[in-house]
Amino acid sequence: MKRPATTLQAFFLDGARGQRFCLLHAPPSGQAVLGHVVYVHPFAEEMNAARHMAGMQARAMARAGFAVLQMDLMGCGDSSGHFEEASWDAWVADVTLARGWMLERWPGVAWLWGLRAGCLLAAQACRQDGLPAQLLLWQPVMSGKQHLHQFLRLQMAGDIVRGESSRSTSRLIHLLEQGESVEVAGYSLSAALAQGMAQADLEALPAGTQIVCLELGDADIGAVSPALSAQLQRWQTSGCNAQAHVVAGSVFWQMQESPDSPAWLATSLRSLGCAEAEVAL
C-alpha cells in the first residue's frame, strides 16, 4: 500500500541577532495530528554526524502524526551568525522560540526531543518554562562540564593518534576562563558558550515532567549505564516520571556514515504513543 507523503518545508525564523534555519516535517494531509516535536541537535561535529538519523526519525514521526521542527541553533548549520558568536543562553532562547512557534500552530502533545548536548538545552528550556513537559532524550549528556571537557580533548585525541606528546586540555580551559575563545577541531568556541555549557545539567525539571531516555547498548542485557541509572533515580525523587530504554544501534552521533539504527526509530515512536502499525514501518 502506498502511503500518503509527509510534507517538508524549509524556512527561516527570526531569532535574536539573525535568522534560524528550520525544517518542518508535517503529517500527511488527512492524517489525525497527535501533537508536535521540537528536535534539539547535539553540539559541534555530533550535529553533522547525526543529521541522517535525525532526518529519518523526523520523517517517521511525521508519518505517525506529529509535526516535527528541526531548527539549526544560532551559528550552526544554515542559521545566520558564526559559531564563535553563539552563547549557551542564546541556544536555550532558540529552543524556546522553536517551541513557542510550534505550540501556536500544532496543538496536542508537545514533545522536546534532544540528542546528546541537545538534551541539556531541552532541559534548560523546560526549567525556564516551569511547566511539566514531555522529553525524549537520546543518549543524553548528563553533565555539561564533562561534555565540554570531552570536546576540548579532541585536540589531545589527535595528538594521541599522531603519537605526539599530548597537549594538555587545561591550557584551553585556562584561556576560556580568561574570557578568550579557543579553536578546537575547526570550531571557535567562545567563553560565553563554554561557561553556559559547563553549568548545564538535567536536574530540577518541573515536577510531573515525563522523560523517556534512549541509551545505546545491548538490548538483550538491557541494563542502563550506572550514570543514567543514578540520573533516573534523581528524576523520580524530584517528582518526574522517567524511564529509559537500552537500544541497539551504532554510535551515529560520532561516526560519519554510520549504519542506520532502526531500533531507535521504533522505540521512540512507541514512546510517543504511536500505533504499532506506524512503528513497524
Binding site: M156, A157, I160, V161, S166, V251
Partner: protein, 83 residues
C-alpha cells in the same frame, strides 16, 4: 577478564566493528593497526569509558601507549576503576 569484555564491547560499538573484534586478544595491536581509530574514535572511546564507568580521565593519565593494544587499554581501565 570482565574489564576486557566491557572494553571490547565499547570498541565494537564506537568503531562499528560489527563483531570483527571477536577474536581479538590482549596483545592485539590497536593504534596504527585498526584503521577506524582516528581522533574522533579515540575521543569516542575515552568518552564512552567515562560515561560507562562514571570516572574522569585526566589528560596526564593518557597517551599513545594506552591505545597500543587491547591489553594496555584494559589495564588502564582496571587501574582507573581501582582509584
Amino acid at each position: 577478564m570482565a574489564v576486557e569484555t566491557d572494553v571490547m564491547r565499547i570498541l565494537d560499538s564506537v568503531l562499528s566493528l560489527q563483531g570483527r573484534g571477536a577474536d581479538w586478544q590482549r596483545h592485539t595491536p590497536l593504534l596504527g593497526a585498526v584503521p577506524e581509530l582516528d581522533s574522533m574514535a579515540v575521543l569516542g572511546i575515552i568518552t564512552a569509558l567515562e560515561e560507562r564507568f562514571a570516572f574522569i580521565i585526566h589528560d596526564d593519565d593518557i597517551d599513545s601507549a594506552v591505545f597500543a593494544t587491547l591489553g594496555s587499554l584494559s589495564d588502564f581501565v582496571a587501574a582507573k576503576q581501582a582509584e
